[in-house]
């Protein structure tokens, strides 16, 4: 057991940290007050420097990939990391990115900015390279660019991968992203309750606030470690369990984060929604908490 990153992972995370704290990663509201802010500059920098290929590097591996997905999800801006980092190298390394993922036929995140799409159907995995005109953007409350694709001009290509394995890779990616998103929101709320004073003291000095945030942090960190372990082991039960745990935790955490931000958290001038409305979509993914926890139980003890 070693819960510290190895030297290569540490060096990798240090460089990632520089980018995650650089100007392309910083919060700024969208000129049209969109709920999300896609950062093509950060996405491109990460891409050009090979970050999205880390999971395939022997000294970095899927754990580094999951750590990167978490760190980027903490940002108020969006890049497409989960699919590119944890799915693409295993399923279709040659797909152009950004890569959107569809698990059903409806609208899906990232499609309007994606150059390819992976479709993870229960009976098979397929992929398509996207052309201009393949995707219709869709308005969504969730803080991602949503879009819908009919039949892509280039057509769907079958991907030679086991559909269950592919969905489990996606579960790990979603768990890591959800842990990161909630951590990002928690960080913003912590900053707020440390400085905002009411009744002559910081809000964060009230125990009612402290205990709920401390509980949130225990749940997020527990889930983050479970996601990292699932990334390393590739175990199917671990994957469903990590995602189910994060999804089950998210409901209460999202509620608390908004409560403690007060009215400011309901505006588009504060980024809280960037995290909570990604969390709200992520907690519904692949059937949501009960489906994933139930699957984890079936995989652990047999149906």
């Amino acid at each position: 057991m070693d819960f510290d990153p190895n030297d290569d992972q540490r060096a990798f995370l240090d460089v990632l940290e520089q980018m995650a704290t650089g100007p392309d990663a910083a919060w700024g509201h969208d000129p049209d007050w969109k709920r999300y802010q896609w950062s093509p500059a950060l996405d491109a920098t990460l891409d050009e420097n090979g970050f999205f290929d880390c999971a395939a590097e022997p000294d970095l591996g899927p754990v580094a990939g999951a750590l990167m997905v978490m760190r980027l999800a903490e940002l108020p801006v969006l890049v497409e990391a989960a699919a590119s980092t944890l799915l693409r190298p295993r399923l279709a390394p040659d797909l152009p990115r950004p890569v959107a993922v569809m698990t059903g036929d409806g609208p899906a995140p990232f499609l309007p900015v994606a150059r390819s799409v992976l479709r993870l159907a229960p009976d098979g995995v397929s992929a398509a390279v996207l052309d201009l005109g393949d995707v219709a953007a869709a308005e969504s409350l969730f803080a991602y660019p949503f879009g819908q694709v009919g039949t892509p001009g280039a057509g769907w290509q079958a991907v030679d991968a086991d559909p269950d394995t592919a969905r489990d890779l996606w579960r790990v990616a979603l768990a890591a992203e959800l842990a990161g998103v909630l951590k990002g929101g928690l960080g913003a709320v912590l900053e707020h309750v440390r400085s905002r004073r009411q009744f002559g003291r910081p809000l964060g000095s009230f125990q009612a606030v402290q205990h709920r945030l401390a509980g949130a942090s225990a749940r997020i960190e527990g889930g983050a470690w479970m996601a990292l372990r699932a990334a390393e082991t590739g175990d199917a039960a671990d994957a469903a369990q990590a995602l189910g745990w994060m999804q089950a935790s998210a409901t209460r955490i999202v509620y608390d984060l908004h409560q403690f931000m007060g009215a400011m958290g309901l505006t588009l001038e504060h980024p809280l929604h960037r995290w909570t409305y990604r969390a709200r979509w992520l907690k519904s993914a692949l059937g949501g908490a009960e489906a994933n926890l139930s699957l984890a139980a079936a995989r652990t003890w047999g149906a």
């Binding site: 057991m1 070693d2 527990g222 470690w225 984890a296 652990t300 003890w301 047999g302």
Partner: protein
Amino acid sequence: MDFNWTDDERRFRDRVRAFLHRELPSDWAEVARHGPGSAEQTAFSRDFCPRLAAEGLLVPHWPAEWGGQGRPTWEHFILGEEMWAAGEPRGAQYMNVNWIGPTLMRYGSAEQQARYIPAMAAGNAIWCQGFSEPEAGSDLASLRTKAVPDGGGYVIDGQKIWTSYAGLAETCFLLARVPGAGDGKAAIAIFLVPMDTPGIEVRSIPSLIGHGDIHEVFLTGVRVPASARLGAEGEGWSIISYALANERVGIPRYELSSRTLSRMAARLKDEGRFDDPVIRARAGSAAAACEAARMLTYRAVSMRAKGQPAGPEANIARVAVVEADHAVSEFGMDFLPGAYTAGGGNGGADDAAILAHHERAIVAGIAAGAAEIQLDLVARRHLDLPRGAA
């Protein structure tokens, strides 16, 4: 990062399991049904711990000088997981192994060390921990039991409560306040008090966790020599902090919870009920709570293994451990209520194991400090939130 056990660690765990398999009697589930502080388990531990010691498995992490082998932190931890999951056949003696022994090694006089440590290493010493009082629970530093200097020794008066193992212990690790030595924490001193000293009266408290587990201890004019004091008069609080730092991550409760949950799931499968999606989702949720607790605990142990102080990481782990214990216990009560009523279960070892788990789980958020105190510490140390108003 690496979430796997090394071959050595695996072999060590196998060795502990093989020992338990060999040495625990066939009616162990019934014995373990009583709490770790019961007369049954205490009597059992007096026989079991010397065998564990002979096998080199009682204090393997202690230095050789004190009968140990200087084995690594992780092995000590694996030992704790296996013992707790087996129903803690060491009874009260797990405290000696984890913190009383190490604290005496560091702070004890030569005389105290010679008197107490070899017996602990041999597996034949029952101690109790006299901290809590009727008016001093979570706010331990407000304890009132007095130790008044008198003729080169002390006279101790006061009352302790919730004291586990007190009915059968030979020695008490007792906290008392020395008047005149300042207020608050500075006045607290530690005394190693033989329980047969005149003036000590022990009364068992009937409880939800089995008889003989928790007690009141009345101390009336209890005379002890100065040599019974551990460390200096003003040093008590820092010694306790050291002692408790050794216990930081606490009992690896998730290990028993996780195994009990597996028994419950197997039982539900036997009854043809495990394909119920509600039951399965709840089982999955309880299992996930156990794994979250496990990962957070390992995180803290991993730091300790590297000689880094695990502060807030240990507090977070304890919060998660409480949640996991309760998740499993409530799962059992919701879906296997028969196991908690005579005639309603399957009449086998499973019933005893499920009952025993429940009684251990309900104390998780209170014994060894309330969960809310841990949440306070997480908020302050980990989330950097300002201290609350007094």
